[in-house]
Amino acid sequence: MAEAEESPGDPGTASPRPLMRDLKAVGKKFMHVLYPRKSNTLLRDWDLWGPLILCVTLALMLQRDPADSEKDGGPHFAEVFVIVWFGAVTITLNSKLLGGNISFFQSLCVLGYCILPLTVAMLICRLVLLAGPGPVNFMVRLFVVIVMFAWSIVASTAFLADSQPPNRRALAVYPVFLFYFVISWMILTFTPQ
């Protein structure tokens, strides 16, 4: 990740350009996730800002109504965080233990960035829910979540599958499937009170 540098002629003011450069890098990776191609950008210049932004956005949107009962509602903010980060770390460890040659942070970066389609699905679901509940409402949300779930899986597999030996690829990809399935389930069952 790039450090913030002060340009030599401006003591006391941090130059805004490294921040813009970081944001541009994050945006470029978002594009790579939305249009997955066999490129190495996500792997080579990994960073964890994108996954953090996505995770915080998702957790904020999934947050349960404070008036909701303690036991029966949706996930807390912290629960979403734990599931996303703990899940990503577990999948990365699993991938490395199976003999994959991807580095720890590269894998976290890919898994985190590939949550982007599901975050978009969450946004769409919240907008659709403003129209009021109903079976059509549910069908639309189901369709959107399924499409985005498939997109996430395809995007992350495009980056992660090559790092595994061919006879273990399915073993490494299955936990990714489970991970995004759980996140999709949380998005689909979100009900505003």
Partner: protein, 314 residues
Amino acid sequence: MAAADELTFHEFEEATNLLTETPDAATTSRSDQPTSQGHVAVAVGSGDSYGAEDEVEEESDKAALLQKQQQQPGFWTFNYYQSFFDVDTSQVLDRIKGSLLPRPGHNFVRHYLRNRPDLYGPFWICATLAFVLAVTGNLTLVLAQRRDPSIHYSPQFHKVTVAGISIYCYAWLVPLALWGFLRWRKGVRERVGPYTFLETVCVYGYSLFVFIPMVVLWLIPVPWLQWLFGALALGLSAAGLVFTLWPVVREDTRLVAAVLLSTVVLLHALLAMGCKLYFFQSLPPEHVTPPHQAASLPTNIPLSPTLPRSMAPS
């Protein structure tokens, strides 16, 4: 591996016979064995499971040797744990198939694990089962609400935590207790050594796999069908456990063997029942407002909406 060389000395003449009987056994040979000996070594492994007692004894001696050799890297190194994930897709699928169809002569540990227990199967089967339990339990509530709109739907996210903790505790603590008990009774048995801790964890982990389709089929809201599926799955799973443990407890006193096996089956049944009662009951309308009491309700079908008390909608 050195073990393959040791095994070929004794069973060479039976290899061709065993190969013709079980041609698919050859396909699971591991890639790091020399291919000329690959099929012979695999046939040896399957030969041990055909019930011959002498071979079981020799196999267990060699298993003990092999375990000592395998524990050379220290437990603080990454390679030590990597040796527990040294499985291919085909091997994992094979082990899952073996746990789904237990046969009396086929000991899961000897036939499928072959001294290479893995942690991938138990860990991810438990994770899948925990999430599938939470998701299908929630789906049952959704379906119940469609039939009876007065039932209050909520995502019930806390059930994920409960499912995860209970499944993982069962799949790791019960094998620990079993392994400890079998080692304690080791003195009584002369011939067959106990299984290692990892092999016990493996047996339990893979035996939980059959619960996954059972839980999914529990979505069908017909009570007798649910109990039928539950009994079938419990029977398969417990049979796998019993067939695996039988060669080890067979030499113990009859009382200890009977008590051990019945405890194992009972714990398994308790797990299945607990899953059914906690995750698959939908709330009758009169119990909507205090949701923390819902967990104690044993009913699993929604009651008819013609109840004497009607709740204010929440």
